[in-house]
Protein backbone atom coordinates (compact mmCIF):
# COMPACT_ATOMS: atom_id res chain seq x y z
CA UNK A 1 0.00 0.00 0.00
CA UNK A 2 3.02 2.24 0.28
CA UNK A 3 4.40 2.68 -3.22
CA UNK A 4 1.88 0.85 -5.37
CA UNK A 5 -1.24 2.68 -6.46
CA UNK A 6 -3.39 -0.31 -5.61
CA UNK A 7 -2.68 -2.99 -3.01
CA UNK A 8 -2.13 -6.47 -4.42
CA UNK A 9 -5.22 -8.65 -4.60
CA UNK A 10 -3.12 -11.55 -3.34
CA UNK A 11 0.13 -11.41 -1.43
CA UNK A 12 2.03 -14.58 -0.57
CA UNK A 13 4.91 -14.43 1.86
CA UNK A 14 7.37 -17.28 2.27
CA UNK A 15 4.79 -19.99 1.69
CA UNK A 16 6.12 -23.53 2.19
CA UNK A 17 4.60 -27.01 2.01
CA UNK A 18 6.36 -30.33 2.56
CA UNK A 19 5.00 -33.75 1.63
CA UNK A 20 7.24 -36.05 3.64
CA UNK A 21 10.73 -35.46 2.22
CA UNK A 22 9.50 -33.52 -0.78
CA UNK A 23 9.19 -29.76 -0.59
CA UNK A 24 6.34 -29.09 -3.03
CA UNK A 25 6.22 -25.34 -2.43
CA UNK A 26 9.44 -23.84 -1.17
CA UNK A 27 9.30 -20.38 0.40
CA UNK A 28 7.27 -18.78 -2.36
CA UNK A 29 6.90 -15.01 -2.11
CA UNK A 30 4.61 -13.44 -4.69
CA UNK A 31 2.30 -10.50 -5.31
CA UNK A 32 -0.56 -10.46 -7.79
CA UNK A 33 -1.53 -6.93 -8.80
CA UNK A 34 -5.25 -6.32 -9.25
CA UNK A 35 -6.84 -5.84 -12.66
CA UNK A 36 -4.47 -8.13 -14.51
CA UNK A 37 -4.67 -11.67 -15.84
CA UNK A 38 -1.95 -13.74 -14.23
CA UNK A 39 -0.69 -17.08 -15.42
CA UNK A 40 1.42 -19.50 -13.42
CA UNK A 41 3.38 -21.88 -15.58
CA UNK A 42 6.06 -24.46 -14.95
CA UNK A 43 6.89 -28.09 -15.61
CA UNK A 44 4.80 -30.87 -14.07
CA UNK A 45 5.50 -31.16 -10.38
CA UNK A 46 6.65 -27.55 -10.09
CA UNK A 47 4.16 -26.96 -7.28
CA UNK A 48 1.55 -24.92 -9.15
CA UNK A 49 -1.50 -26.85 -8.04
CA UNK A 50 -0.13 -27.19 -4.51
CA UNK A 51 0.22 -23.41 -4.45
CA UNK A 52 -3.48 -23.12 -5.39
CA UNK A 53 -4.35 -25.69 -2.72
CA UNK A 54 -2.52 -23.61 -0.11
CA UNK A 55 -4.15 -20.35 -1.20
CA UNK A 56 -7.66 -21.82 -1.19
CA UNK A 57 -7.15 -23.46 2.19
CA UNK A 58 -7.45 -26.89 0.73
CA UNK A 59 -4.12 -27.87 2.25
CA UNK A 60 -2.64 -26.33 5.40
CA UNK A 61 0.67 -24.60 4.74
CA UNK A 62 3.75 -25.46 6.84
CA UNK A 63 5.20 -21.97 6.83
CA UNK A 64 4.45 -18.56 5.42
CA UNK A 65 1.41 -16.36 5.12
CA UNK A 66 -1.25 -15.49 2.56
CA UNK A 67 -3.06 -12.16 2.36
CA UNK A 68 -6.14 -11.64 0.23
CA UNK A 69 -7.01 -7.99 -0.44
CA UNK A 70 -5.02 -7.05 2.66
CA UNK A 71 -6.69 -9.62 4.92
CA UNK A 72 -4.72 -12.58 6.22
CA UNK A 73 -6.27 -15.89 5.12
CA UNK A 74 -3.45 -18.26 6.09
CA UNK A 75 -4.83 -21.63 7.21
CA UNK A 76 -8.48 -20.57 7.13
CA UNK A 77 -10.99 -23.34 6.27
CA UNK A 78 -11.78 -23.62 2.52
CA UNK A 79 -15.42 -22.58 2.91
CA UNK A 80 -14.39 -19.43 4.80
CA UNK A 81 -11.84 -18.45 2.16
CA UNK A 82 -14.45 -19.10 -0.50
CA UNK A 83 -16.92 -16.80 1.25
CA UNK A 84 -14.32 -14.02 1.40
CA UNK A 85 -14.30 -14.03 -2.38
CA UNK A 86 -11.82 -16.54 -3.80
CA UNK A 87 -13.30 -19.06 -6.22
CA UNK A 88 -11.35 -21.84 -7.82
CA UNK A 89 -11.76 -24.62 -10.32
CA UNK A 90 -10.06 -27.97 -9.97
CA UNK A 91 -7.62 -29.60 -12.35
CA UNK A 92 -9.79 -32.71 -12.47
CA UNK A 93 -13.15 -31.27 -13.48
CA UNK A 94 -15.53 -31.47 -10.58
CA UNK A 95 -19.17 -30.44 -10.45
CA UNK A 96 -22.24 -31.82 -8.66
CA UNK A 97 -22.92 -34.72 -11.01
CA UNK A 98 -26.48 -35.62 -10.07
CA UNK A 99 -27.76 -32.04 -9.84
CA UNK A 100 -28.97 -30.19 -12.91
CA UNK A 101 -26.75 -27.56 -14.51
CA UNK A 102 -29.06 -24.84 -13.14
CA UNK A 103 -28.97 -26.32 -9.62
CA UNK A 104 -25.18 -26.50 -9.75
CA UNK A 105 -25.11 -22.77 -10.39
CA UNK A 106 -27.93 -22.03 -7.95
CA UNK A 107 -26.33 -23.72 -4.95
CA UNK A 108 -23.02 -22.01 -5.78
CA UNK A 109 -24.68 -18.60 -5.95
CA UNK A 110 -26.65 -19.23 -2.76
CA UNK A 111 -23.87 -20.88 -0.71
CA UNK A 112 -22.59 -17.72 0.94
CA UNK A 113 -26.05 -16.16 1.32
CA UNK A 114 -27.17 -19.03 3.56
CA UNK A 115 -28.60 -22.45 2.81
CA UNK A 116 -30.17 -23.32 6.14
CA UNK A 117 -33.82 -22.80 5.27
CA UNK A 118 -35.38 -26.28 5.01
CA UNK A 119 -38.82 -25.21 3.71
CA UNK A 120 -38.57 -22.24 1.34
CA UNK A 121 -38.48 -23.31 -2.30
CA UNK A 122 -35.27 -22.61 -4.19
CA UNK A 123 -37.27 -21.00 -7.02
CA UNK A 124 -38.37 -18.21 -4.65
CA UNK A 125 -34.83 -16.88 -4.13
CA UNK A 126 -34.85 -14.11 -6.69
CA UNK A 127 -31.28 -12.91 -6.39
CA UNK A 128 -29.74 -16.35 -6.82
CA UNK A 129 -32.17 -17.37 -9.57
CA UNK A 130 -31.42 -14.23 -11.58
CA UNK A 131 -27.72 -14.89 -11.10
CA UNK A 132 -28.21 -18.40 -12.49
CA UNK A 133 -30.00 -17.02 -15.56
CA UNK A 134 -27.26 -14.46 -16.16
CA UNK A 135 -24.44 -17.00 -15.86
CA UNK A 136 -26.26 -19.48 -18.10
CA UNK A 137 -26.55 -16.80 -20.79
CA UNK A 138 -23.02 -15.54 -20.30
CA UNK A 139 -21.61 -19.03 -20.92
CA UNK A 140 -24.18 -20.15 -23.54
CA UNK A 141 -25.37 -22.94 -21.27
CA UNK A 142 -29.07 -21.97 -21.21
CA UNK A 143 -30.07 -24.87 -23.46
CA UNK A 144 -28.46 -27.31 -21.05
CA UNK A 145 -29.95 -25.82 -17.87
CA UNK A 146 -32.05 -28.87 -16.96
CA UNK A 147 -29.50 -31.50 -17.94
CA UNK A 148 -27.87 -33.54 -15.18
CA UNK A 149 -24.34 -32.15 -14.89
CA UNK A 150 -22.80 -35.62 -14.94
CA UNK A 151 -24.13 -36.24 -18.46
CA UNK A 152 -22.44 -33.20 -20.06
CA UNK A 153 -19.47 -33.38 -22.42
CA UNK A 154 -16.03 -32.64 -21.04
CA UNK A 155 -15.95 -29.19 -22.58
CA UNK A 156 -19.38 -28.26 -21.22
CA UNK A 157 -18.44 -29.47 -17.73
CA UNK A 158 -15.37 -27.23 -17.88
CA UNK A 159 -17.60 -24.32 -18.88
CA UNK A 160 -20.02 -25.14 -16.07
CA UNK A 161 -17.11 -25.16 -13.63
CA UNK A 162 -16.14 -21.69 -14.77
CA UNK A 163 -19.82 -20.72 -14.52
CA UNK A 164 -19.93 -21.94 -10.94
CA UNK A 165 -16.79 -19.97 -10.17
CA UNK A 166 -18.51 -16.82 -11.49
CA UNK A 167 -21.84 -17.56 -9.79
CA UNK A 168 -20.05 -17.30 -6.46
CA UNK A 169 -19.30 -13.64 -7.38
CA UNK A 170 -15.64 -13.86 -6.48
CA UNK A 171 -13.11 -11.05 -6.37
CA UNK A 172 -10.38 -13.49 -7.34
CA UNK A 173 -10.71 -16.53 -9.57
CA UNK A 174 -8.16 -19.34 -9.53
CA UNK A 175 -8.37 -21.51 -12.66
CA UNK A 176 -6.42 -24.76 -12.63
CA UNK A 177 -5.75 -25.85 -16.24
CA UNK A 178 -9.10 -24.57 -17.55
CA UNK A 179 -8.57 -25.85 -21.11
CA UNK A 180 -6.87 -29.14 -20.29
CA UNK A 181 -8.17 -31.92 -22.56
CA UNK A 182 -10.32 -29.64 -24.72
CA UNK A 183 -10.79 -29.78 -28.47
CA UNK A 184 -9.48 -26.75 -30.45
CA UNK A 185 -13.03 -25.38 -30.80
CA UNK A 186 -13.74 -25.77 -27.09
CA UNK A 187 -10.38 -24.17 -26.30
CA UNK A 188 -11.16 -21.13 -28.44
CA UNK A 189 -14.59 -20.77 -26.82
CA UNK A 190 -13.18 -21.09 -23.29
CA UNK A 191 -10.31 -18.67 -23.93
CA UNK A 192 -12.83 -16.08 -25.14
CA UNK A 193 -14.88 -16.56 -21.97
CA UNK A 194 -11.82 -16.22 -19.73
CA UNK A 195 -10.86 -12.99 -21.50
CA UNK A 196 -14.35 -11.59 -20.97
CA UNK A 197 -14.26 -12.55 -17.32
CA UNK A 198 -10.88 -10.94 -16.81
CA UNK A 199 -12.54 -7.57 -17.54
CA UNK A 200 -14.35 -7.72 -14.20
CA UNK A 201 -12.63 -10.34 -12.05
CA UNK A 202 -8.99 -10.82 -11.13
CA UNK A 203 -7.85 -14.14 -12.51
CA UNK A 204 -4.86 -16.36 -11.80
CA UNK A 205 -4.63 -19.39 -14.02
CA UNK A 206 -2.40 -22.43 -14.24
CA UNK A 207 -1.99 -23.64 -17.79
CA UNK A 208 0.23 -25.94 -19.79
CA UNK A 209 -0.78 -24.69 -23.21
CA UNK A 210 1.94 -22.09 -23.85
CA UNK A 211 0.20 -20.70 -26.90
CA UNK A 212 -2.82 -19.84 -24.78
CA UNK A 213 -0.79 -18.48 -21.88
CA UNK A 214 1.29 -16.12 -24.01
CA UNK A 215 -1.84 -15.05 -25.84
CA UNK A 216 -3.99 -14.04 -22.85
CA UNK A 217 -1.78 -13.42 -19.81
CA UNK A 218 -0.73 -9.94 -18.70
CA UNK A 219 1.80 -11.30 -16.21
CA UNK A 220 3.47 -14.69 -16.10
CA UNK A 221 5.03 -16.38 -13.10
CA UNK A 222 7.28 -19.36 -13.78
CA UNK A 223 7.65 -22.01 -11.09
CA UNK A 224 10.15 -24.85 -11.00
CA UNK A 225 10.73 -27.35 -8.23
CA UNK A 226 8.52 -25.52 -5.79
CA UNK A 227 10.17 -22.11 -6.18
CA UNK A 228 9.66 -19.01 -8.30
CA UNK A 229 12.00 -18.99 -11.26
CA UNK A 230 10.88 -15.77 -12.91
CA UNK A 231 8.09 -13.20 -13.01
CA UNK A 232 7.25 -10.77 -15.76
CA UNK A 233 5.38 -9.87 -18.90
CA UNK A 234 5.05 -12.54 -21.62
CA UNK A 235 7.81 -10.78 -23.57
CA UNK A 236 10.20 -10.78 -20.64
CA UNK A 237 9.47 -14.41 -19.86
CA UNK A 238 9.94 -15.47 -23.46
CA UNK A 239 13.30 -13.73 -23.46
CA UNK A 240 14.44 -15.04 -20.08
CA UNK A 241 17.38 -17.40 -20.47
CA UNK A 242 16.71 -19.30 -17.22
CA UNK A 243 13.13 -19.98 -18.23
CA UNK A 244 14.21 -21.12 -21.66
CA UNK A 245 16.71 -23.49 -20.17
CA UNK A 246 14.55 -24.83 -17.38
CA UNK A 247 11.37 -25.15 -19.26
CA UNK A 248 10.62 -23.73 -22.64
CA UNK A 249 13.70 -24.53 -24.69
CA UNK A 250 14.40 -28.05 -23.53
CA UNK A 251 11.22 -30.10 -23.34
CA UNK A 252 13.17 -33.20 -22.26
CA UNK A 253 13.75 -31.37 -18.97
CA UNK A 254 10.04 -31.53 -18.33
CA UNK A 255 10.21 -35.30 -18.29
CA UNK A 256 13.28 -35.16 -16.12
CA UNK A 257 11.58 -33.03 -13.47
CA UNK A 258 8.47 -35.15 -13.63
CA UNK A 259 10.47 -38.30 -13.02
CA UNK A 260 12.39 -36.73 -10.20
CA UNK A 261 9.17 -35.75 -8.44
CA UNK A 262 7.43 -39.06 -8.96
CA UNK A 263 10.47 -41.02 -7.69
Amino acid sequence: MNEAAKPPILRIDGLTKHFGGLTAVDGVTLEFAPGRLHAVIGPNGAGKTTLFNLISGFLPSDEGRVFFAGQEITRLAPHKISRLGISRTLQVKSVFNQLSVADNLWITAQAKRGVWNPFRRTASYRESCEKVERVLEQLDLTALADRQAGTLSHGDIALLEIGMAIAAEPKLLLLDEPICGMSPAETARTVTKIRELAQTIDIVLIEHDMEVVFEIADDITVMAQGAILACGSPKEIAADERVREAYLGRPEDEDYVEEAVRA
Binding site: S82, V95, I107, A111, W116
Partner: protein
Protein backbone atom coordinates in the same frame (compact mmCIF):
# COMPACT_ATOMS: atom_id res chain seq x y z
CA UNK B 1 -50.83 -44.04 -9.67
CA UNK B 2 -49.88 -41.97 -6.64
CA UNK B 3 -53.48 -40.90 -5.99
CA UNK B 4 -54.71 -44.49 -6.22
CA UNK B 5 -52.02 -45.58 -3.75
CA UNK B 6 -52.90 -42.73 -1.38
CA UNK B 7 -56.63 -43.57 -1.44
CA UNK B 8 -55.82 -47.23 -0.89
CA UNK B 9 -53.55 -46.42 2.09
CA UNK B 10 -56.24 -44.30 3.77
CA UNK B 11 -58.92 -46.94 3.10
CA UNK B 12 -56.87 -49.85 4.45
CA UNK B 13 -58.63 -50.16 7.87
CA UNK B 14 -62.02 -50.62 6.14
CA UNK B 15 -60.95 -52.25 2.90
CA UNK B 16 -58.62 -54.93 4.20
CA UNK B 17 -60.96 -56.57 6.75
CA UNK B 18 -63.54 -56.91 3.95
CA UNK B 19 -61.26 -59.08 1.83
CA UNK B 20 -58.69 -60.54 4.23
CA UNK B 21 -57.78 -61.07 7.84
CA UNK B 22 -57.71 -57.94 10.05
CA UNK B 23 -54.17 -58.90 10.88
CA UNK B 24 -53.06 -57.30 7.59
CA UNK B 25 -54.05 -53.85 8.85
CA UNK B 26 -51.38 -54.21 11.48
CA UNK B 27 -48.90 -55.47 8.91
CA UNK B 28 -49.53 -52.30 6.92
CA UNK B 29 -49.06 -50.19 10.05
CA UNK B 30 -45.79 -51.98 10.72
CA UNK B 31 -44.61 -51.40 7.15
CA UNK B 32 -45.32 -47.66 7.52
CA UNK B 33 -43.41 -47.47 10.79
CA UNK B 34 -40.36 -49.29 9.42
CA UNK B 35 -40.44 -47.21 6.27
CA UNK B 36 -39.68 -44.18 8.45
CA UNK B 37 -36.53 -45.90 9.71
CA UNK B 38 -35.61 -46.66 6.10
CA UNK B 39 -36.32 -43.00 5.22
CA UNK B 40 -33.80 -41.96 7.84
CA UNK B 41 -31.18 -44.16 6.14
CA UNK B 42 -32.31 -42.68 2.83
CA UNK B 43 -31.92 -39.08 4.01
CA UNK B 44 -28.33 -39.77 5.03
CA UNK B 45 -27.27 -42.15 2.24
CA UNK B 46 -29.51 -41.08 -0.62
CA UNK B 47 -29.22 -37.32 -0.16
CA UNK B 48 -26.07 -36.58 1.86
CA UNK B 49 -23.94 -39.57 0.85
CA UNK B 50 -23.38 -40.96 4.34
CA UNK B 51 -24.06 -44.69 4.74
CA UNK B 52 -25.15 -45.30 8.33
CA UNK B 53 -25.35 -48.78 9.80
CA UNK B 54 -26.41 -47.37 13.15
CA UNK B 55 -29.87 -45.87 12.70
CA UNK B 56 -31.31 -48.57 14.97
CA UNK B 57 -29.62 -46.76 17.85
CA UNK B 58 -32.03 -43.85 17.41
CA UNK B 59 -34.91 -46.20 16.76
CA UNK B 60 -34.10 -47.81 20.13
CA UNK B 61 -33.86 -44.42 21.85
CA UNK B 62 -37.30 -43.60 20.46
CA UNK B 63 -38.71 -46.85 21.83
CA UNK B 64 -37.12 -46.39 25.24
CA UNK B 65 -38.11 -42.72 25.37
CA UNK B 66 -41.76 -43.73 25.05
CA UNK B 67 -41.59 -46.84 27.27
CA UNK B 68 -39.64 -45.16 30.06
CA UNK B 69 -41.84 -42.08 29.76
CA UNK B 70 -45.03 -44.06 30.18
CA UNK B 71 -43.92 -46.80 32.56
CA UNK B 72 -41.31 -45.10 34.78
CA UNK B 73 -42.32 -41.42 34.61
CA UNK B 74 -46.07 -41.90 34.30
CA UNK B 75 -46.34 -39.62 31.25
CA UNK B 76 -49.39 -39.44 28.99
CA UNK B 77 -49.41 -40.23 25.26
CA UNK B 78 -48.17 -36.88 23.91
CA UNK B 79 -45.43 -36.15 26.49
CA UNK B 80 -44.16 -39.71 26.09
CA UNK B 81 -44.15 -39.30 22.31
CA UNK B 82 -42.26 -36.04 22.82
CA UNK B 83 -39.67 -37.78 24.97
CA UNK B 84 -39.47 -40.57 22.40
CA UNK B 85 -38.47 -38.00 19.78
CA UNK B 86 -36.34 -35.67 21.92
CA UNK B 87 -34.10 -38.44 23.29
CA UNK B 88 -32.99 -39.79 19.88
CA UNK B 89 -32.56 -36.25 18.49
CA UNK B 90 -30.27 -35.35 21.41
CA UNK B 91 -28.40 -38.62 20.98
CA UNK B 92 -28.04 -38.00 17.24
CA UNK B 93 -26.56 -34.58 17.95
CA UNK B 94 -23.97 -36.02 20.34
CA UNK B 95 -23.13 -39.03 18.15
CA UNK B 96 -23.11 -36.81 15.05
CA UNK B 97 -20.49 -34.47 16.49
CA UNK B 98 -18.06 -37.37 16.25
CA UNK B 99 -19.50 -39.40 13.39
CA UNK B 100 -19.81 -36.75 10.67
CA UNK B 101 -16.12 -35.95 10.91
CA UNK B 102 -15.74 -39.21 9.01
CA UNK B 103 -17.06 -40.41 5.67
CA UNK B 104 -17.55 -43.69 3.81
CA UNK B 105 -16.57 -46.86 5.61
CA UNK B 106 -15.13 -44.95 8.56
CA UNK B 107 -18.50 -43.28 9.03
CA UNK B 108 -20.31 -46.62 8.63
CA UNK B 109 -18.04 -48.21 11.21
CA UNK B 110 -18.42 -45.47 13.80
CA UNK B 111 -22.22 -45.61 13.50
CA UNK B 112 -22.08 -49.38 14.15
CA UNK B 113 -19.77 -48.81 17.11
CA UNK B 114 -22.11 -46.23 18.63
CA UNK B 115 -25.14 -48.49 18.32
CA UNK B 116 -23.23 -51.48 19.75
CA UNK B 117 -22.08 -49.46 22.76
CA UNK B 118 -25.64 -48.45 23.60
CA UNK B 119 -27.02 -51.88 22.78
CA UNK B 120 -24.79 -53.46 25.42
CA UNK B 121 -25.40 -50.57 27.78
CA UNK B 122 -29.16 -51.12 27.46
CA UNK B 123 -28.67 -54.83 28.19
CA UNK B 124 -26.72 -54.06 31.37
CA UNK B 125 -28.79 -51.18 32.76
CA UNK B 126 -31.56 -53.50 33.90
CA UNK B 127 -33.34 -51.15 36.36
CA UNK B 128 -33.85 -48.56 33.60
CA UNK B 129 -34.25 -50.65 30.45
CA UNK B 130 -35.42 -54.01 31.70
CA UNK B 131 -32.35 -55.65 30.14
CA UNK B 132 -33.18 -58.68 27.99
CA UNK B 133 -36.86 -58.58 28.86
CA UNK B 134 -37.36 -54.96 27.83
CA UNK B 135 -40.15 -52.80 29.21
CA UNK B 136 -43.85 -53.48 28.64
CA UNK B 137 -46.31 -50.72 29.40
CA UNK B 138 -50.02 -50.00 29.47
CA UNK B 139 -51.15 -47.83 26.60
CA UNK B 140 -52.24 -44.29 27.51
CA UNK B 141 -55.05 -42.79 25.37
CA UNK B 142 -54.15 -40.10 22.85
CA UNK B 143 -57.34 -38.01 22.97
CA UNK B 144 -60.31 -37.69 25.28
CA UNK B 145 -63.62 -36.24 24.10
CA UNK B 146 -66.09 -36.21 26.95
CA UNK B 147 -66.24 -39.81 28.08
CA UNK B 148 -64.82 -41.30 24.87
CA UNK B 149 -61.14 -42.14 24.56
CA UNK B 150 -59.18 -42.49 21.34
CA UNK B 151 -55.81 -44.17 21.20
CA UNK B 152 -53.71 -46.96 19.81
CA UNK B 153 -56.10 -49.40 21.52
CA UNK B 154 -58.22 -48.96 18.40
CA UNK B 155 -56.45 -50.57 15.45
CA UNK B 156 -58.11 -48.15 13.04
CA UNK B 157 -57.00 -45.11 15.03
CA UNK B 158 -53.54 -46.60 15.40
CA UNK B 159 -53.20 -47.23 11.68
CA UNK B 160 -54.49 -43.79 10.66
CA UNK B 161 -52.30 -42.02 13.23
CA UNK B 162 -49.23 -43.83 11.90
CA UNK B 163 -50.23 -43.16 8.28
CA UNK B 164 -50.72 -39.45 8.99
CA UNK B 165 -47.36 -39.22 10.76
CA UNK B 166 -45.49 -40.98 7.95
CA UNK B 167 -47.28 -38.89 5.30
CA UNK B 168 -46.37 -35.70 7.17
CA UNK B 169 -42.71 -36.77 7.40
CA UNK B 170 -42.54 -37.60 3.69
CA UNK B 171 -44.16 -34.26 2.82
CA UNK B 172 -41.66 -32.42 5.04
CA UNK B 173 -38.84 -34.32 3.35
CA UNK B 174 -40.20 -33.41 -0.08
CA UNK B 175 -40.21 -29.74 0.92
CA UNK B 176 -36.70 -30.14 2.28
CA UNK B 177 -35.43 -31.55 -1.01
CA UNK B 178 -36.74 -28.50 -2.89
CA UNK B 179 -35.19 -26.09 -0.38
CA UNK B 180 -31.71 -24.56 -0.13
CA UNK B 181 -30.84 -26.97 2.67
CA UNK B 182 -31.85 -29.94 0.52
CA UNK B 183 -29.79 -28.71 -2.43
CA UNK B 184 -26.83 -28.19 -0.11
CA UNK B 185 -27.21 -31.78 1.14
CA UNK B 186 -27.25 -33.12 -2.41
CA UNK B 187 -24.28 -30.98 -3.37
CA UNK B 188 -22.33 -32.54 -0.51
CA UNK B 189 -23.47 -36.01 -1.58
CA UNK B 190 -22.24 -35.44 -5.13
CA UNK B 191 -18.95 -33.78 -4.31
CA UNK B 192 -17.98 -32.75 -0.79
CA UNK B 193 -14.69 -31.18 -1.91
CA UNK B 194 -16.42 -28.91 -4.38
CA UNK B 195 -19.12 -28.18 -1.80
CA UNK B 196 -16.58 -26.77 0.63
CA UNK B 197 -14.91 -24.83 -2.19
CA UNK B 198 -18.15 -23.00 -3.01
CA UNK B 199 -18.47 -21.97 0.63
CA UNK B 200 -20.71 -24.63 2.17
CA UNK B 201 -19.89 -25.64 5.72
CA UNK B 202 -19.82 -29.37 5.06
CA UNK B 203 -19.40 -30.39 8.70
CA UNK B 204 -22.40 -28.50 10.08
CA UNK B 205 -24.59 -29.45 7.14
CA UNK B 206 -23.76 -33.13 7.60
CA UNK B 207 -24.45 -32.79 11.31
CA UNK B 208 -27.84 -31.21 10.57
CA UNK B 209 -28.70 -34.10 8.26
CA UNK B 210 -27.57 -36.59 10.88
CA UNK B 211 -29.81 -35.00 13.51
CA UNK B 212 -32.76 -34.95 11.07
CA UNK B 213 -32.17 -38.62 10.30
CA UNK B 214 -32.03 -39.24 14.05
CA UNK B 215 -35.42 -37.55 14.31
CA UNK B 216 -36.95 -39.83 11.64
CA UNK B 217 -35.46 -42.99 13.14
CA UNK B 218 -36.46 -41.89 16.65
CA UNK B 219 -40.02 -41.09 15.63
CA UNK B 220 -40.19 -44.47 13.94
CA UNK B 221 -39.04 -46.15 17.15
CA UNK B 222 -41.47 -44.13 19.28
CA UNK B 223 -44.39 -45.18 17.04
CA UNK B 224 -43.18 -48.79 17.17
CA UNK B 225 -43.12 -48.68 20.98
CA UNK B 226 -46.77 -47.55 21.08
CA UNK B 227 -47.60 -50.10 18.39
CA UNK B 228 -46.03 -53.01 20.30
CA UNK B 229 -46.65 -51.58 23.80
CA UNK B 230 -43.07 -52.31 24.75
CA UNK B 231 -39.41 -51.44 24.22
CA UNK B 232 -36.47 -53.79 23.97
CA UNK B 233 -32.73 -53.48 23.46
CA UNK B 234 -32.87 -56.07 20.68
CA UNK B 235 -34.20 -53.38 18.33
CA UNK B 236 -31.00 -51.40 18.84
CA UNK B 237 -28.84 -54.16 17.40
CA UNK B 238 -27.08 -53.34 14.12
CA UNK B 239 -28.98 -56.15 12.43
CA UNK B 240 -32.00 -53.84 12.48
CA UNK B 241 -29.93 -50.97 11.03
CA UNK B 242 -28.67 -53.29 8.30
CA UNK B 243 -32.19 -54.31 7.32
CA UNK B 244 -33.18 -50.66 6.96
CA UNK B 245 -30.17 -50.12 4.68
CA UNK B 246 -31.17 -53.10 2.50
CA UNK B 247 -34.80 -51.91 2.29
CA UNK B 248 -33.64 -48.45 1.27
CA UNK B 249 -31.19 -49.60 -1.38
CA UNK B 250 -33.61 -52.13 -2.87
CA UNK B 251 -36.46 -49.60 -2.88
CA UNK B 252 -34.25 -46.87 -4.28
CA UNK B 253 -31.86 -44.67 -2.31
CA UNK B 254 -32.13 -41.02 -3.27
CA UNK B 255 -35.83 -41.31 -4.14
CA UNK B 256 -38.51 -40.09 -1.75
CA UNK B 257 -40.72 -43.20 -1.89
CA UNK B 258 -37.98 -45.80 -2.40
CA UNK B 259 -37.71 -46.67 1.32
CA UNK B 260 -41.48 -47.22 1.55
CA UNK B 261 -41.45 -49.45 -1.54
CA UNK B 262 -38.47 -51.48 -0.31
CA UNK B 263 -39.87 -51.86 3.20
CA UNK B 264 -43.26 -52.97 1.84
CA UNK B 265 -41.67 -55.58 -0.39
CA UNK B 266 -39.56 -57.15 2.32
CA UNK B 267 -42.14 -57.13 5.08
CA UNK B 268 -44.83 -58.54 2.78
CA UNK B 269 -42.46 -61.28 1.61
CA UNK B 270 -41.62 -62.02 5.23
CA UNK B 271 -45.28 -62.20 6.28
CA UNK B 272 -46.40 -64.28 3.30
CA UNK B 273 -43.48 -66.67 3.04
CA UNK B 274 -42.49 -67.13 6.66
CA UNK B 275 -45.71 -69.02 7.45
CA UNK B 276 -44.86 -71.61 4.79
CA UNK B 277 -41.10 -71.61 4.70
CA UNK B 278 -38.57 -70.86 7.40
CA UNK B 279 -35.82 -69.50 5.18
CA UNK B 280 -37.51 -66.40 3.85
CA UNK B 281 -34.26 -64.52 4.43
CA UNK B 282 -32.86 -66.34 1.38
CA UNK B 283 -35.43 -64.64 -0.87
CA UNK B 284 -34.62 -61.31 0.72
CA UNK B 285 -30.92 -61.81 0.04
CA UNK B 286 -31.46 -62.93 -3.55
CA UNK B 287 -33.72 -59.97 -4.35
CA UNK B 288 -31.27 -57.56 -2.74
CA UNK B 289 -28.35 -58.92 -4.78
CA UNK B 290 -30.31 -58.85 -8.05
CA UNK B 291 -31.45 -55.27 -7.47
CA UNK B 292 -28.00 -54.01 -6.56
CA UNK B 293 -26.52 -55.58 -9.70
CA UNK B 294 -29.27 -54.87 -12.24
CA UNK B 295 -31.02 -51.79 -10.86
CA UNK B 296 -28.55 -49.69 -8.89
CA UNK B 297 -31.19 -47.01 -8.37
CA UNK B 298 -33.54 -49.51 -6.79
CA UNK B 299 -37.09 -50.43 -7.66
CA UNK B 300 -38.24 -46.82 -7.92
CA UNK B 301 -35.37 -46.12 -10.32
CA UNK B 302 -36.32 -49.20 -12.34
CA UNK B 303 -39.92 -48.03 -12.47
CA UNK B 304 -38.90 -44.58 -13.68
CA UNK B 305 -36.70 -46.08 -16.40
CA UNK B 306 -39.61 -48.21 -17.58
CA UNK B 307 -41.94 -45.20 -17.64
CA UNK B 308 -39.39 -43.28 -19.66
CA UNK B 309 -39.01 -46.13 -22.12
CA UNK B 310 -42.78 -46.46 -22.56
CA UNK B 311 -43.34 -42.76 -23.07
CA UNK B 312 -40.32 -42.70 -25.39
CA UNK B 313 -41.76 -45.60 -27.42
CA UNK B 314 -45.01 -43.75 -27.99
CA UNK B 315 -43.29 -40.84 -29.67
Amino acid sequence: MLIVSAVFLVAVPWLVPAVADRFWVNVMAEILIWSLLASSVNLLFGYVGLLSFGQALFFGFGMYGVAIGVEKLGLGFWPALGLGVAAPVAMAFVAGIFAVRLTWHYFAIITVVFSLIFYFLALTLKPLTGGDDGISFTLPPAFRFGGAEFGFASETFQYLFILATVALCLYAMRRLLASPLGKAFMAIRDNDVRASLIGLNVYWLRLAAFVMAGFLAGLSGALFAFFGRYASASYMFYHVSGEAVVWTIVGGAGTLLGPLVGTSLFILVREVVSTHWQHHALIVGAVAILIVIYAPRGMVGLWRDLLERWSGGEK
